[in-house]
């Protein structure tokens, strides 16, 4: 259930997640900056820190005001109840199923000679969009 963990435990978990994330992100950034093409290192750093910050803030908010959090906040921080888990499971199932045709379409686009970076970016955006829409639909239906 979503209220069984104390705020102190959740704050500790948030701090640990952020610390572990930084330990992974900073060496990754340094490695990619030296060895990867283009601005991949900076992109990794910005994306990683952005995701880490969002996760940490959400976990912190869930600890402070569990009654004011949304289904999305509870589900993504594993603080949800059974309905939140059901919504997240359904969403991930939809993302998993649509990933197959989307990846197939991306492979065909690459085979036809499209720009690799553009295809991969569009594939990522399409899967994120599917996830957001599927989550919104599941929240309304469930």
């Amino acid at each position: 259930m979503w209220t069984t963990k104390s705020p102190a435990h959740l704050r500790l978990a948030a701090a640990l997640v952020v610390a572990v994330g930084i330990v992974i992100i900073v060496p990754g950034w340094l490695y990619l900056r030296e060895h990867a093409p283009g601005n991949m290192g900076n992109g990794f750093l910005v994306g990683g820190l952005g995701a880490l910050t969002a996760f940490g803030l959400t976990l912190w908010r869930t600890a402070r005001h569990p009654d004011r959090t949304t289904t999305a906040e509870r589900a993504w921080t594993s603080q949800g109840d059974e309905r939140d888990d059901a919504v997240l499971t359904s969403t991930l199932a939809v993302v998993g199923i649509t990933a197959l045709p989307l990846t197939g379409a991306a492979a065909i686009a690459l085979a036809l000679g499209r720009d690799t970076a553009m295809v991969m970016a569009l594939l990522l955006l399409a899967e994120l969009l599917v996830g957001v829409v599927a989550f919104a639909v599941q929240v309304r239906r469930t």
Binding site: W2, T4, D67, R74, E82, R83, T142
Partner: protein, 64 residues
């Protein structure tokens, strides 16, 4: 599945938030159960029945 959770809650003068706190679920979950959009698990259904001092069969009714 239909249920009488809303009626029972109103009879006790409880808000959705108060019932949710008692059941250790979110207010949105109570709302989803009351509106029939979500069927609770068996443990939660039993918790609801115990909260209202009745049985699961008295609260939840299968649509025929």
């Amino acid at each position: 599945m239909r249920n009488d959770v809303r009626d029972l809650r109103l009879q006790e003068g409880l808000s959705q938030a108060a019932l949710a706190t008692s059941l250790q679920v979110s207010r949105q979950t109570v709302n989803a159960i009351e509106t029939g959009r979500y069927d609770p698990s068996l443990p939660l259904a039993i918790s609801i029945a115990r909260h209202f001092r009745t049985t699961v069969e008295e609260i939840f009714h299968v649509d025929d």
